[in-house]
């Protein structure tokens, strides 16, 4: 499988790249406001959650708007990629039924598109950090491994979701509920560490990868802390394993996708 993966990636990576760029361009071209929404969307939701958290729950967290914004940035990438991939094969039946392409290349293409939007959002985080005069330390570089783990994890889960999405018609509805639950358990507009009691707190932070990764990003960007390297490495390995599993499953079953549609 490794060898096949290598040759396929070499052959199709340019396609994923070019297609992702064209998609982004088309999105910008279709309406002038569209690219603005890449920024407006997290910005407006940040305001909503800040309002709720500050006025209703009287939350007192340092740099709260940025705190929320970082959470939303990472979450949106994860959420949108996975949701978009549930019906991926069906939406691309044009291509899938006309020419052979390893199906995870399509997943990769979607992941690239959303990753690009995430980077724009992250750039905005930096701007906000300047505005709020957040003191930064060298620990900012820990964001790099955090993002790599996030990317691998999202891609791996997306592959699996893509596969099951072909066979299960209503997976989309199921995933919506699951993702919503995960959203509330990832501490995007509250601090899991300060709000929750002991057993639940550690369980969430260590077992829910999104809660953990978002916390890591906040630690290194806002609070000059070092994220736990052991847990990060562990999640990195799990994410890598998910990718391998996802690609394996797709290789094994992608032949029957066209027959089912």
């Amino acid at each position: 499988m490794w060898k096949r993966f290598q040759t396929d990636v070499k052959k199709y990576i340019n396609y994923a790249n070019y297609s992702a760029r064209s998609d982004l361009k088309a999105e910008v071209a279709s309406s002038y406001l569209n690219w603005l929404w890449w920024i407006l969307d997290p910005l407006l939701f940040m305001m909503v959650y800040t309002f709720i958290a500050v006025t209703i729950f009287q939350s007192r967290i340092e740099y709260f708007p940025i705190f929320v914004f970082i959470g939303l940035t990472l979450w949106n990438f994860f959420n949108k990629t996975i949701q978009g991939n549930v019906k991926l094969i069906r939406n691309n039946r044009n291509i899938v039924s006309k020419v052979y392409i390893p199906k995870y290349i399509l997943v990769l293409q979607r992941t690239f598109v959303n990753a690009f939007k995430m980077f724009i959002s992250l750039a905005l985080v930096l701007v906000m950090m300047l505005v709020y005069r957040v003191p930064v330390s060298y620990r900012v570089i820990y964001l790099v491994p955090v993002l790599i783990v996030l990317f691998l994890l999202t891609f791996g889960i997306s592959c699996l979701v893509t596969h099951f999405g072909v066979f299960v018609d209503d997976l989309y509805n199921v995933m919506q509920v699951v993702l919503r639950l995960l959203f509330y358990m990832s501490g995007i507009f509250y601090s899991i560490e300060k709000r929750l009691e002991e057993p639940l707190k550690s369980v969430l932070l260590n077992v829910n990868p999104m809660a953990f990764l978002i916390q890591c990003a906040r630690q290194c960007l806002l609070y000059r802390e070092t994220p736990s390297p052991v847990v990060l490495l562990l999640w990195g390995l799990i994410a890598f394993g998910t990718c391998v599993l996802g690609i394996h499953v797709i290789y094994k079953y992608e032949n029957s996708y066209v027959k089912i549609m």
Binding site: N14, Y18, D23, N94, I95, V99, Y100, F167, V258, K259
Partner: protein, 243 residues
């Protein structure tokens, strides 16, 4: 003179299991029954195509023609038997190649070319030729979703015809487009065919086209080969059977 073999199909079997997609609710009710119907679209077909040959495939609807072409193109693999391309590149030309609806014709040319295994550079070199052949005017820079179905297939045909893969599979495409384009594509097919090393497989219902283009005809009936051989002979038998 023994010609080099470009494509070899051996004991090809393709099944459609009726494992349709299911919804969770439906599966809860149906799980108990669990009977799977298996439909064999292609049942033990073997043939080989020498390099440079134009092979026509005829058969009534549902006899497995398109299924077989898709299998040769690698879209899905054989359940039994083998398809050996001897390292040749292959492209399937059927109505509406995989276009991304929101992107422009120009971008789709590059993407389709890349899917067919060419590099971006190679496609760009041929870009002008493709655009000229497709003759879409200013539509080439508009999103593909604005195209009429005729324009769709004109673009699709141009891409596969100009970007030359070793084996071209054609699924009933010569009968689309306006009469001017039909003529042009027919001439292009002629031109491709005149090149010694191009191998083409055509599925069509139009006996006239096959008569003019093909070296040999394969008659597929209910997933099996009924007859294979000289163009005139097979077509005559087929016509008689159909009438």
């Amino acid at each position: 003179m023994q010609k080099e073999i470009a494509l070899e199909v051996k004991d090809l079997v393709i099944r459609y299991r009726c494992l349709k997609s299911f919804s969770l609710k439906a599966s809860l009710f149906r799980l108990a029954k669990g009977d799977q119907k298996i439909f064999e679209a292609v049942r033990g077909v073997s043939f080989s195509v020498p390099k440079g040959e134009i092979l026509g495939i005829v058969g009534k609807n549902g006899s497995g023609k398109s299924t077989m072409l898709r299998a040769i193109a690698g879209i899905f693999s054989a359940d039994e038997g083998t398809i050996d391309l001897h390292g040749n590149s292959v492209s399937l030309l059927s109505i509406g190649v995989g276009f991304q609806e929101t992107l422009t014709g120009r971008e789709n040319i590059i993407l389709s070319g890349m899917l067919l295994g060419f590099s971006e550079q190679q496609v760009r070199e041929k870009m002008d030729e493709i655009i000229e052949f497709a003759n879409l005017g200013e539509f080439i820079d508009m999103p593909v979703k604005t195209y009429s179905s005729g324009m769709h297939s004109k673009l699709a045909f141009s891409i596969t015809a100009i970007l030359e893969s070793d084996i071209i599979l054609i699924d009933e495409v010569l009968s689309v487009g306006d009469s001017k384009f039909k003529k042009k594509s027919y001439n292009k097919m002629k031109e491709l065919i005149d090149k010694e090393d191009r191998t083409v497989i055509i599925v069509s219902h139009v006996a006239e086209t096959l008569q003019k283009l093909c070296n040999r005809i394969l008659w597929l009936h209910d997933g099996q080969i009924r007859m294979i051989g000289d163009t005139g002979e097979v077509l005559a038998a087929y016509e008689e059977f159909m009438s």
